[in-house]
Amino acid sequence: MTTQISIDRALAIRVGRGDEKAFEEFFSEYFPRLFRFVLTRTDGDEAIAEEVVQRTLCNVMYRMDSYRGEAPLFTWLCTICRNELSAYFRKAGREEQLSEPLEESREIQTALEAAGRDPDDPVSERYRDEIADVVRVTLEELPENYASALEWKYMQGLSVAEIAERLGLGEKAAESVLTRARKAFRDAFESLWGTIPRLFAEN
């Protein structure tokens, strides 16, 4: 069975060997995800995100063959990116003032716990902004095509046929992407926040 890590490993090898298509695939997939990864940690500072991600990816180009598939490629890149972010603040002579990771926010945890505890409570309305952020951060953890498919389907209300067209796939394949995207979302959500509150299952 092909695992995500084996796919990641193959991509890394192809990029390291100078495969043009692989490089573009790598950049399209990971640049936006890393950019958002830094935005989340710098209170949305796009200038820092651009600089840090550029440094991260330029350095990665010289050490692609040190990726051995011990973790997903994105996790590996995030580790390097975190180091670059620390170095950025050090070089700028600034205290590292990273935003509090959302998953550690007391407000978020309160929102999720309250939402799961009492489905009839209007607490979900009270914590609407926090829940919206939870979804955004979870989507930013996903591969580009999964996150896009979920946004199109559940935020923009596009039909499967329309999503298929945007993805350049047949409808059946698009349905399959949506199924895998939902699973990836659920996995990412559980990894970040714990299980999905029942409240959301009953609406």
């Binding site: 990029v15 390291g16 060997r17 100078g18 490089f23 950049f27 640049f31 936006p32 950019f35 958002r36 935005l39 949305g44 796009e46 995100a49 651009e50 600089e51 991600v53 550029q54 440094r55 990816l57 330029c58 350095n59 180009m61 010289y62 692609m64 063959d65 040190s66 070089k91 700028a92 799961g116 505890r117 489905p119 979900s124 609407r128 829940i131 919206a132 952020d133 939870v134 979804v135 955004r136 979870t138 989507l139 930013e140 979920l150 946004e151 389907k153 559940y154 935020m155 939902r182 979302f185 659920r186 714990g194 299980t195 999905i196 509150p197 029942r198 409240l199 959301f200 299952a201 609406n203």
Partner: protein, 352 residues
Amino acid sequence: MNEHSDNTVTTGRAGDDAVATLIARGRPRRSVPAGARDRVHAAVREAWQDATRDQTATGRRHADRSEPRGRMGDRNRVRRWMLPAAMAASLALVGLLVARSPVDTLPSAAPVATVAVLTGELQTADGGSLNAGAAIETGAEVRTGPAGRAALVLADGISVRLDRDTRLILVADERLQLETGAVYVDTDAAATADARVTVVTPYATARDLGTQFDVRVADDSTTVRVREGVVSVSADRLRHVSNAGETARVDRSGDVRTDTVAPDDDSWQWATDIAPPFDVTKGRSLDRFLAWSARELGLELAYLEGADGAAEAITLSGDVAGMTPRDALTAVMATTALDYRIEDGQLRVYRP
């Protein structure tokens, strides 16, 4: 099972519904600015091409993934930019071959550069003097003395400037060997987009990835400073990528120390002073002159209150030869209806 007893859901239809409801209440991912994407793409692509070119040149057999980590030695703990030892050794070998290539064995007689600007004297290895406009042949060695500085233009338009007490060998097109002193490189005016300069020194090799930078050799170290763009610095067992505003000092033991330098720091002044003048004789517009001035001064060009349209509409005439970029800026702007001020790293142009 698709539902927990503790008010949470996991898989199955209920799980899918939960995901759907949850996402519908969410907000979409943050957008990524297209400009940032394009700039980063260009830089990363250059690095990728550089990295894969190295691998082709040295043979992938050197990148032995089975190399024991212990072979890296203690240096691995103090240097962040180290490559696996075997690969780095191959890079070092390439650097050594370049650094030790005897100049007199290289093909010669083809002009590789011309002298654009000169203050003091510029000599060849045999003691001859070069004047402004002189052609320099491939493989030639040029030297400035304690009172001399020179700006050369390579065949493809790249600007290379020599500080005082500098000895430089023009090994080949876009390959320079810096023995002593300092050189400043600006590839902005290169005729081709993929023009790149490599500066080989006793302790490190700097390769530009589209940029302005300088390289200075001291008795015990080489220092690379990046004013704009990205430079790859390689030496024995290390590869470092320096971005704009960063310096990398490589000492004789191969350790690298980084620091910061602002693009408009006074220490760039020597290269600005010897800059080839902006050619105003070709009916060029003011906005192009301002872009050149800002670049030479290490500033970001900013137009205030619609001054950009006015700058584009103004065609220059006259001559600024012999002036430094700052003097030329003062002289040219005095003849226009626009004014400027330098603040916060920006050259701000406005209507008075």
